[in-house]
Amino acid sequence: MSERPKPSRAPACASGYAFAHGSGYALPEYPFVEPPEIRCAAVVRHPVVIVGAGITGLTLACALARQGVAAILLDEDNTVGVKGASSRGICYTQKSLEIFDRLGVFERIARKGVQWSVGRTFAGADEVYSFDLRQQENFQLSLQPPFTNIQQFYIEGFLVERINQLNAKATATRQVQLRWCSRVTGFEQHRGFATLTVSTPAGSYPLQAEHVVDASGAHSPFHSWCGATMHTTQGDDRWCIADVRFETPAPAERHTWIEAPFNENRAVWQHLMADDVWRIDYQMEPDADPACIASEAQVRERLRRQFGDRVQWEIVWVGPYVYRSQCLERLRIGSVFFIGDAAKIVSPFGARGGNTGVADADNLAWKLAAVLQGNAPAALLESYNEERLEAAQTNVRVTNRTTRFLRPAHGVERVFRSAVIGLARQYPFARQLVNTGRMAVANPYTRSSVCAVTGGLSVQNVRLRWADGKAGCITDLLQWADGRLLLLAFGDLSAIACQRLIRLGAQAPLRSVQVHAPGARPKARESVLDPLGHVQGACHLFGHAWALLRPDGYLAATGEAVDGALVAAVARAIGMHTKERA
């Protein structure tokens, strides 16, 4: 896995989790297949080459496979996860789960993972506050739960199998080839394409790509190959993970201690995962020695202090880590797109690393597909940088604020934190200042050249009814649109409006559907029912209006009449107006 810290790097430099010890997991192994290029002198140019089969690279590969876009995915080893160890990410948001639903792996994730919606925060022996996301209106309408916890490598494994399944149904020119044991050791950028040197057990070979997607993680070599510039901040906060299997079942809740009496008044995180494994994350002394804090004796002593002598447990995995925050100034340089940890690195609080990487992949996938299949101009691709750079910068800012709360500088920062914790025990207002991580959200896009001011928001996967009364959801409609834009026209439609929608559908990559209340007579060719008004609510709309959805479930624009404004919104959504704006 490209994202794994190299053995030569001390954990003190890693944002990933370094394996220390533990019984670990048995991970799947994938065969190295000698690629034809090794024995062939001619250099083949591929439309898309993805580097790194972590969760972001695999999400992109799976999304392209679903769209029938040929691609090559290169990974330096032959498995998912960190070999012989545990996963890094554990917590997946509703938006990520909705994306996985579209890719066809959500059911497996839901079966294997653990749902949770209750979080409790403690300081000392007291519960400072708790929340239940199920009670919050903004989470309850989607078919996917607010969060599911599962070891990252399970999702990666499901995506590999899904890609193989999609490949089996596709012709050779529309497949996504997974090439294991293939490390990129050289790179050269040319006008309109790039050349990569790939090293394998059978030798090296050159590969050309129109579009290169760097999903190779925190230590990506592409940063220096491309001359990428970035902002980096490294703190002195140190943590140590213990993934532990208990004999007694654990509550499916997120528990966080800002000041844990059993951890010398430093923070502790406790999360449930699949296989009855808990992830327990201990904050250590600033600048603590990773080798020392991860020693088996120390970890056992820490667990004993937290759970007492009578609870039986088994250590699955231990990993000390340090995080840094880092954000590239541009997420696209020439032919190269940066996604996931290659684009930005955040502290783990709030699950904003993996989830936003999945969103990066989902954002880029439909744009690459639209451009490569001739449905949109190449200018659409620049909006990946606009939208996901805004998201990356937001996520870096949000996680840095959490870091400052969890590891306050000595002096006044610590005084204010004590004031907040003391007040929060007594007064509800102060609880909003307790920052143990702001959970990842579907970041809105406010400065995208392909979204109108009415667009840029994610639409939840809410329920609807097909014209025949059968149950459906937004994901079904997006699948039906099949990589095209999806127009939802709410309420009544005039005959002229219906004619316009048919014409527009013939000229642009767009499918239209009328959304109406039960009892109304639909006029458009395709219609669905929205008996509870959830679809309209999810589109942030009222009354007679239209919503233009993109394949990534984001609104490109909303409007009222089916007129020139809609035509302009469709053109803008596929990048046809970006040049004029610039």
Partner: protein
Amino acid sequence: MNISPKLQDADAFYEQLLDAHSGLSRPESELLNARLILLLANQIGDARLLAECIVAARGDASLANAR
């Protein structure tokens, strides 16, 4: 930010503020001040107003007086 007088009883407020600190150690006083700032900030609520107050409090002239 309101810079015209608004306190109903300025002298009494000032006295209460000083009295609240009497008998406290330096760290205890600092904690009291921090708690008070947070309580008052919540009474204001308005983000722009709070930002203006922070800038005004940080003003170079008043910090120079303190040194």
